[in-house]
């Protein structure tokens, strides 16, 4: 009898492994950011890389996001493939000009003559009491602005494959990792933050959604940590005879609209779960896609469970009130199916 060995990694280890393997393959790849060196990244995305590659390729920067993100842009144009880490996505306010006005527009403004092959990694998400300026997700805001690919993985397997794809992509890719999926020892354990990851390098295509659980009664479309919450909710729903399909978008730009339409045509019901703010964001885009492509197949108006349009409150009961969770997702799906 063959012995099956499973290689389990946390998401943070999967990400740092992807970066390490690409750095070994391609000498142009290097990392810049605050505390990416000795510390290994505040959320572990660059853990162990300094020891492997040294300070010339794993570069701790001053707290100077405009400078080092802009530096990544220039280095990318002149032949390198930088990875720059914006510690928390909430910090984009001090450097967004470099990101959306420069990084994202140069290829277009140049009529396709200049490429900016870089990855901007950033941590997202709340649920641990970090309040209004360290808990947002904000991928919808970036996805709204043309010229950046937007990647939001949920599992260790996808995190590695998408990171390798992002590094090899000739476009700027913004890679959002949720703190709650990283498998950090100092956060509430999330069993789904550890998973099977092949040791050899592999890619997961950017722009391809993934059915994380098949079902015929309702489609739950989401990303990142909320994929885990939706899968938990789907288990509860199954005990009631409701089979939910959980569609993990994995990237918002490009958006796999076909996968959304296909799933809704099958289940006839759509719930979008989003930890990002509700208005003008991912949930609206997904629902519009379903209406445009599967209107006649819908048995109920599409629904969304998103973060309310308020800054993230500090106090635990208020923050938990705002966040989508297992129970709220199950209740919203149940409502869609049972009316």
């Amino acid at each position: 009898m063959a012995v099956e060995t499973r290689r389990l990694l946390t998401t943070s280890k999967a990400i740092s492994e992807a970066i390490a393997q690409e750095m070994e393959r391609d000498p142009r790849v290097f990392v810049m950011g605050e505390d990416v060196g000795v510390y290994g990244g505040i959320f572990g995305a660059t853990e162990g890389l300094l020891a492997k590659f040294g300070p010339e390729r794993i570069m701790d920067t001053p707290i100077s996001e405009t400078a080092f993100i802009g530096t990544a842009i220039g280095a990318a144009i002149s032949g390198m493939r930088p990875i720059a880490e914006l510690m928390f996505v909430d910090f984009f306010g001090v450097c967004m000009d470099q990101i959306y006005n420069h990084m994202a527009k140069i290829h277009y403004e140049s009529g396709g003559n200049v490429t900016v092959p870089m990855v901007l990694t950033t941590a997202i998400g709340g649920g641990y009491g970090d309040a209004a300026q360290h808990s947002q997700t904000l991928y919808g805001l970036f996805a709204h602005l043309p010229g950046m690919k937007i990647v939001v993985p949920s599992t260790p397997y996808d995190a590695k494959g998408l990171m390798i794809s992002a590094i090899r992509d000739d476009n700027p890719v913004v890679y959002f990792f949720h703190k709650g999926i990283m498998g950090l020892g100092w956060m509430t354990p999330n069993p789904r933050a550890t998973g099977e990851v092949p040791e050899e390098p592999y890619t997961v295509p950017i722009g391809k959604a993934d059915v994380k659980r098949a079902g015929g009664d309702v489609t739950i479309v989401t990303v990142s940590l909320m994929v885990h919450r939706a899968l938990d909710a789907a288990e509860d729903l199954a005990t009631e005879g409701i089979e939910a399909e959980v569609l993990d978008l994995r990237s918002l730009v490009p958006l796999d609209r076909e996968a959304i339409v296909e799933s809704v045509r099958k289940t006839h019901r759509l719930l979008v779960v989003d930890e990002d703010y509700g208005s003008f964001g991912m949930s609206g885009e997904v629902i519009t896609t379903a209406i445009e492509g599967a209107f006649d197949h819908l048995d109920a108006p599409p629904a969304r469970l998103a973060y309310p349009d308020v800054p993230v409150p500090y106090s635990r009961p208020m923050e938990q009130f705002c966040l989508p969770d297992r129970e709220k997702i199950a209740a919203a799906a149940r409502q869609l199916v049972k009316g």
């Binding site: 140069i106 009529g111 200049v114």
Partner: protein, 327 residues
């Protein structure tokens, strides 16, 4: 003192820039009279011309190779031309034509030219960190190419200025920061915006040499830039050069410049750096009046040819707007 050959090259560069800018100024108003309509005519949108600032571009870029990276501002033509950008493709881009550098997608504030590693931007100080990045790449790639970041005195109060100087000095990168102080940030004069008289003094705060060129003199710019470029090339780190230059025209064409006095306008026109340089060239015997005339004539021909290329080029297909978001 530079050789006569260098002096003639500086003069030639400044003259072709001046003719280009003055020609564009005329073309810009085609279709915009009698009532000024910014969207009308062959060249719509804002137009920021650099007449008066030629010594900066000519003096610095004389030391550069096409593989050196240059980042410039919303007022970029003088630097672009001095760094070797193809004038025809530049003109075509300004006309929004398919044959332009960016196939008409960028326009005059967003010029990108891989052939000369040139980029510019309409956002104040935005290109400064990019220059640091070019220099970092050159260091990593083992090339002795350098990066030059041109910016106005208004940009020196942006965070990107301070962050870029710090990072370039911290990592000892081959960047030359060139401050074009034309004394005006649109309508706000330098002394109403900056607490100190000379931005070159700020260099010491970042541990790099700072040089002040007080009089828009191309030879002085050439000599200071020569030192800074050589330092950057040999791995000696960044420098800051500030040039007190002159904006002979408005912030943009159509700017009535009500904020400038007649006396100031007369002064800057009187001290036109090209005319002053030409007097010196004749006095020193480096050039004769017929030599000078010939340079102007050749520049007019070159610019006329570029404009003709731009005018006769086709517009891009409208639906090409949807291309080139991603590689």
């Amino acid at each position: 003192m530079p050789s006569n050959e260098t002096l003639r090259a500086l003069h030639h560069q400044m003259v072709r820039i001046r003719v280009f800018e003055e020609t564009l100024q005329k073309i810009y108003f085609e279709g915009k009279t009698p009532a000024f309509d910014i969207a009308a005519g062959p060249v719509p949108g804002e137009m920021h011309l650099a007449a008066g600032q030629e010594p900066v571009a000519a003096g610095v870029c004389a030391h550069l190779r096409p593989t050196d990276a240059v980042t410039a501002t919303h007022r970029p033509h003088h630097v672009a031309l001095a760094h070797g950008m193809d004038m025809q493709r530049l003109a075509a881009e300004i006309f929004g034509k398919e044959t332009g550098l960016g196939h008409g997608k960028g326009g005059h504030m967003h010029l990108f030219d891989p052939a000369t590693n040139f980029g510019c931007s309409g956002i104040i100080a935005e290109g400064m960190p990019t220059a640091v990045g070019h220099a970092l790449a050159f260091k990593k790639l083992g090339r002795d190419d350098i990066a030059v970041s041109f910016f106005g005195e208004g940009a020196a109060n942006q965070g990107a200025f301070h962050e870029s100087l710090n990072l370039a000095a911290l990592w000892k990168l081959g960047v030359v920061f060139v401050c074009e102080d034309n004394a005006w940030a649109i309508s706000v004069p330098k002394d109403k915006a900056t607490a100190i008289a000379n931005n070159s003094d700020r260099a010491s705060a970042y541990g790099m040499p700072g040089v002040l060129i007080p009089d828009n003199d191309p030879v002085a710019v050439y000599e200071a830039a020569g030192e800074a470029v050589a330092r950057a090339r040999r791995g000696g780190g960044p420098s800051l050069i500030e040039i007190k230059t002159d904006r002979l025209l408005g912030h943009f064409e159509g700017d009535p410049q009500l904020y400038r006095t007649k006396a100031e306008m007369e002064t800057v026109t009187q001290r036109d750096a090209i005319r002053r340089f030409e007097r010196q060239l004749i006095e020193s015997g480096a050039m004769t009046q017929p030599d000078l005339d010939q340079v102007w004539e050749a520049a007019r021909a070159e610019v006329a040819e570029a404009v003709e290329f731009a005018r006769s080029s086709p517009y891009p297909a409208p639906e090409a707007a949807l291309l080139h978001v991603f590689a």
